[in-house]
């Protein structure tokens, strides 16, 4: 499903050049549940953002099925994201001034889906926070916020779900619950890639990719 060939990413900041990725080759199967681990600053988020079409690599080729994503301009990338990608972030990235319901509904609006109400409520139900639909993200606990974020990703109904340290801001127990949620999403046929620091979480992934200093460690 995903094939990366010699992906490099440099960040240039007033003459300082950071080589965040230094030639990543990677293959991810459709329907897999992949964990990315590595020390802080090793390039995990950079890699995930490139996979998610939120950022472009400086060099190298990124194939999604047969499409060469690394050649896309921002407009095509947006269409690619809209069709294929959902994100879950460590800091939840909910829109705090919109209600839980509106947050989950948002990806449906751009995808012009019918029957929005039912889909939103189903997703919230599945995440066990249906009764919080009218609340605002700031009124929820961390775990509930992350469930809301996953519900939003679920509502988008994309084949690929990317999560950047989804349990990073949560305690062990809540984190384990969130991973259960991801497992459930995975079972429904979606490909999941998540970044984690937590070895307990990593242990529950089907496949593990270790990244160190911008390179994949085997």
């Amino acid at each position: 499903m995903i094939r990366l060939e010699d992906i490099k990413k440099d960040y240039v900041n007033n003459k300082n050049c950071t080589h965040a990725l230094r030639g990543v080759d990677l293959h991810i199967r459709e329907g897999s549940f992949t964990g990315i681990i590595g020390t802080s600053g090793s390039g995990k988020s950079t890699l995930l953002n490139i996979i998610g079409g939120m950022d472009t690599p400086t060099e190298g080729k990124y194939y999604f099925y047969d499409e060469l994503i690394s050649d896309y301009n921002s407009e095509k990338l947006q269409k690619f994201r809209k069709k294929n990608i959902s994100f879950v972030f460590q800091n939840f990235a909910l829109m705090n001034r919109y209600s839980v319901y509106e947050n989950v509904e948002m990806p449906l609006l751009i995808r012009k889906v019918k029957n929005k109400k039912k889909i939103v409520m189903d997703c919230l139900e599945q995440m066990g926070i249906a009764d919080m639909a009218k609340k605002y993200p700031t009124q929820l606990s961390g775990g509930q916020q992350q469930r809301c974020a996953i519900a939003r990703a679920l509502a988008a109904d994309t084949p690929l779900l990317l999560a950047d340290e989804p349990t990073g801001a949560l305690d062990q127990k809540t984190g384990a619950d969130i991973i259960d949620c991801f497992k459930a999403v995975h079972k429904s046929g979606k490909t999941v890639i998540l970044i984690t620091h937590d070895m307990n979480v990593a242990a529950r992934c089907e496949e593990i990719i270790k990244i160190e200093d911008g390179l994949i460690q085997l």
Partner: protein, 418 residues
């Protein structure tokens, strides 16, 4: 539809900020309208009279024939007037003043409908303006029908049946030319014949103008819709005569001739030109208004900059939201259109709030100002300026938002936190 929905959701998610923006826009529009009003009003006292007076503002003045004398001099005054008005330097020399009269219930009823200006009824009397045939050409007079003033024929006999003509404002259109009204008194009777109906929108200089142009009023013309002008050429004495110079001559030359003629009859004459009146009593007012008008030049770009800055700042606050929307698959185009619609709604709300406030300001602080200006300036002058400003603001903010969204990747918009 999608973008409208997004814009409305976005407005409600930031309702307080939205309200503040709307209020700032409304206040800007109000300031703008007020300065434009000041700008338009500064020249109004002069321009409106200048346009109305047949010989223009600068060639018109008022003669005061001194009244401290006895009866014989009064005759002298009359002789002076008769003599002076035939001189070639003088285009018109005559008197006009308003009186309360009663000679026709028909006219009384029509004027009774009017409650503004000077042509109003008072009990069972109504206001007419008596005017000398020789000063009817003081102002440009347009008739919708009837006999032109120059063609009127006056019978000179005095005593029993004195003949006068009346010109009626457009409100009296239904009254046929030639209708006669008779006013009987002890031993005399006046016959008033309707000579013509004035064109709609006809105005006349205010008789008060000869007393002073004070610093509180702005309009020295009066609406003649309900006007009744009694015209005669009786040689009765009056100590206040309107004078205007003929085409080839200046007001000074005309006055010069008058002084000579006055000397001949032993009459003392003082005079003042409208320009003099204007400069001595109105200048302060005009100055203040023109300062306001100058402020206008500063206010427009200031308003523009403020609105643009405000919109851009409020957009910066929301970059995070836009980043999140990008991560969900929204494109630059969707977000830009959303911002644009939001700004349009903001501008419209600003206009809707500003409109009644402007009407209120006009009603409570500018009631002296002439109605046509109060009605037309906000709509015909200020509104287009406001709309152009708002369009520029909307256009620029949209452009800036597109640049911002294109310049940063979604990750950067969200702020790197992972």
């Amino acid at each position: 539809m999608l973008h409208l929905r997004l814009a409305i959701d976005n407005i409600f998610s930031q309702f307080k900020r939205f309200l503040i923006s709307v209020i700032i826009i409304a206040v800007s529009i109000i300031t703008l309208v007020c300065t434009v009003l000041a700008y338009e009003l500064q020249g109004y006292a002069y321009d409106s009279c200048d346009e109305l007076l047949a010989q223009g503002f600068e060639k018109t003045g008022v003669l005061y024939v001194d009244d401290e004398t006895e009866h014989e001099i009064e005759d002298a005054g009359t002789c002076f007037w008769e003599d002076a008005s035939t001189r070639k330097e003088i285009a018109s020399l005559g008197c006009m003043s308003t009186y309360l009269f009663r000679f026709s219930d028909e006219l009384l009823n029509i004027q009774g409908e009017n409650d503004e200006g000077i042509f109003i009824t008072n009990g069972d009397e109504f206001t007419v303006m008596t005017i000398d045939a020789r000063s009817l050409n003081l102002c440009n007079m347009e008739l919708s029908k009837g006999i032109e003033p120059e063609e009127l024929e006056f019978s000179r006999e005095s005593g029993e049946n004195i003949h006068r003509y009346i010109y009626l404002g457009s409100a009296y259109e239904s009254i046929p030319i030639g209708t006669e009204y008779i006013m009987e008194g002890a031993g005399y009777s006046f016959v008033y014949t309707v000579a013509g109906i004035l064109e709609e929108g006809q105005r006349w200089v205010s008789p008060n103008l000869s007393i002073e142009m004070n610093s509180t009023s702005i309009d020295y013309t009066i609406d003649c819709t309900y006007g009744i002008f009694c015209v005669d050429n009786l040689q009765y004495f009056t100590n206040e005569l309107w004078i205007s110079a003929s085409d080839e001559y200046s007001i000074d030359e005309a006055v010069e001739v008058c002084l000579e003629v006055a000397d001949k009859y032993g009459v003392t004459v003082r005079y003042t030109t409208l320009t003099e009146l204007y400069e001595t009593s109105c200048m302060e007012n005009v100055q203040i208004l023109s300062y306001l008008a100058e402020v206008f030049v500063i206010i427009v770009p200031a308003v523009l900059l403020m609105l643009i800055a405000m919109q851009i700042v409020s957009m910066l606050f929301e970059l995070n939201t836009y980043g999140i929307m990008c991560s969900m698959g929204f494109g630059t185009k969707d977000i830009s259109i959303m911002i644009m619609i939001k700004n349009i709604i903001m501008a419209l709300m600003g206009l809707v709030i500003a409109a009644p406030v402007i009407v209120w300001i006009e009603k409570s602080f500018m009631k002296e100002a002439p109605a046509p200006i109060l009605a037309e300036v906000p709509c015909l002058v200020a509104l287009p300026i406001a709309v152009v400003i708002l369009l520029v603001v909307i256009f620029l903010t949209t452009i800036v938002s597109i640049i911002m969204l294109k310049r940063y990747t979604p990750v950067e918009l969200m702020g790197k936190r992972n």
